[in-house]
């Protein structure tokens, strides 16, 4: 039996071996090739003194079980001592700048919560709420309650195509229309905190607040 030896590469380094496991192929193929190499084609490295082994899984994101499966195959060979396993960590919340997109309709009594920044396509009706640890952008009408910066981020903003909420909250600041804002012509607006007070502005003025944004300046 011959196996295309593409997925598993074994390299010798000064004080042991490095197993470079391909991160594109199906995980099952990886396992079977690893098994084949250890049991058949590379028998020679398995006889002899104890060897330190580093495993590199590339940019593949693996679960604990999958990691265990790889280790089990290597452990079945007596003289391989696993020193380290390197793999991409579980996709975590590191990427907090990313926008998470949800669409639908938040009706009275319903709550949508998200950790991070949220782009919501749809309406938030009176009695419904949308809460978020970061910014909230609503492509639709905000008629219910929106709370951005849950947990205390005062930099957060709330933007909506139609900003006519029952209440707005950013971090710990609570505000309600209309006595504090007056009536405005309808266009996409956003709410932000300016020295602790809720302010409303047109969406194109967001650049003044967020210096870091990619700004389109025309071509």
């Amino acid at each position: 039996m011959t196996v295309q030896s593409k997925h598993v590469r074994i390299k010798g380094i000064k004080d042991g071996l490095v197993f470079l496991l391909d991160d594109k192929c199906p995980f099952e193929d990886l396992l079977s090739e690893l098994r084949y190499k250890l049991e058949h084609s590379h028998q020679n490295i398995l006889t002899g003194p104890i060897v330190h082994v580093d495993i590199k899984l590339g940019s593949r994101s693996v679960s604990e079980e999958e990691k265990e499966a790889v280790l089990d195959i290597l452990k079945s060979q007596g003289n391989l001592l696993i020193r380290s396993v390197e793999a991409l960590e579980e996709p975590g919340d590191k990427d907090t700048d990313a926008l998470f997109m949800v669409s639908g309709m938040i009706r009275s009594g319903q709550v949508l919560h998200h950790e991070g920044n949220l782009l919501f396509l749809g309406d938030v009706n009176p009695g419904g709420s949308i809460t978020c640890t970061g910014d909230i952008y609503i492509l639709g009408a905000l008629r219910g309650m929106a709370h951005a910066g849950v947990g205390g981020n005062e930099e957060s903003i709330i933007a909506a195509s139609l900003l006519s909420p029952t209440q707005l909250r950013i971090a710990d600041v609570i505000s309600r229309p209309p006595d504090e804002w007056g009536t405005r012509e309808s266009s996409m607006e956003f709410a932000y905190l300016s020295s602790g007070a809720m302010q409303i502005d047109k969406i194109h003025n967001i650049v003044k607040l967020r210096q870091g944004l990619n700004v389109f300046k025309g071509v």
């Binding site: 009706r107 009275s108 009594g109 309406d123 009706n125 009176p126 419904g128």
Partner: protein
């Protein structure tokens, strides 16, 4: 196999029972075999509106608990041979039946009847879950008031999470005069918030109150504007494309006149 439609609203007093009675009667008027089911256990009203209170022998709870057969509990209408009603119990409460029991009863009725209209109690608790358990479709009744629209929105949210197909809206007790002066919610405004299909608008009509008190559904009275509205809803349920009622009759006629003279 018939179709089970639950009539619900969340808020009380918007006209669920009146709507159930009238749409049901209107469907019977069109020659359909119809059964009305009252799931408002403990606060039954449908029998009173239909004028059938004194004919009740057994009720929904009796059927659920096996004290009688389903057919024994059904009350035949006094006007139509093909219209029946399954009354709710008045002496028990909502928890005396389970959604599964109601579902079984509705399933049984669907074999026999073309349309089953389920009158739902107000609220979103056990009674609501009982009422929607066997339903295929839903009609949400609201009135042009913020509170009623808010509750309708809540109910639509709950219906969307359930097995019930896309709910249809009835806006009840409309007073065109008040809408015109801006003192009542516009139908457009309601639709914008609720975002579901409209199946009918019913004008506020004193004859409805009169009819309910005499146990004779309004729909029987062709002089009543609400009766026409309910008949239209029934026809839409049957699949006819009936245009929405022109509520503001006088200005409408005037406009036509203006148009005729090239002024509009």
């Amino acid at each position: 196999m018939g179709e089970a439609i639950v009539v619900t609203s969340g808020k009380g007093g918007v006209g669920k029972t009146t709507t159930t009675a009238n749409i049901g009667t209107a469907l019977a008027l069109q020659g359909k075999k119809v059964c009305l089911v009252d799931t408002d256990i403990g606060l039954r009203n449908l029998d009173v509106v239909m004028g059938l209170e004194n004919r009740i022998i057994y009720d929904l709870v009796d059927v659920a608990e096996g004290r009688c057969r389903l057919n024994q509990a059904l009350v035949k209408d006094k006007r139509f041979d093909e219209l029946y009603m399954l009354p709710a119990a008045q002496t028990k409460d909502k928890t005396s039946v389970t959604p599964e029991q109601v579902k079984d009863i509705i399933l049984e009725l669907k074999k026999e009847y073309e349309y089953i209209l389920i009158d739902c109690p107000a609220g979103i608790e056990h009674g609501f879950r009982n009422a929607i358990a066997g339903a295929d479709k839903a009609i949400v009744v609201t009135t042009p008031e913020h509170a009623a629209v808010r509750d309708a929105d809540r109910i639509i949210g709950l219906l969307e999470q359930s097995h019930v197909e896309s709910p249809k809206l009835v806006v009840n007790r409309i007073r065109p005069g008040l809408i015109k002066t801006g003192d009542m919610l516009d139908i457009e405004d309601i639709l914008q918030v609720l975002n579901i299909d409209l199946i009918g608008i019913v004008p506020d009509d004193e004859l409805v109150i009169k009819a309910a008190n005499s146990g004779e559904p309004t729909v029987m009275n062709p002089d009543s504007a609400a009766a026409i509205a309910y008949r239209n809803i029934a026809r839409r349920i049957l699949g006819d494309a009936v245009p929405l009622m022109q509520l503001d009759k006088k200005p409408g006629a005037f406009k036509k006149l203006k148009k005729f003279f090239g002024m509009g």
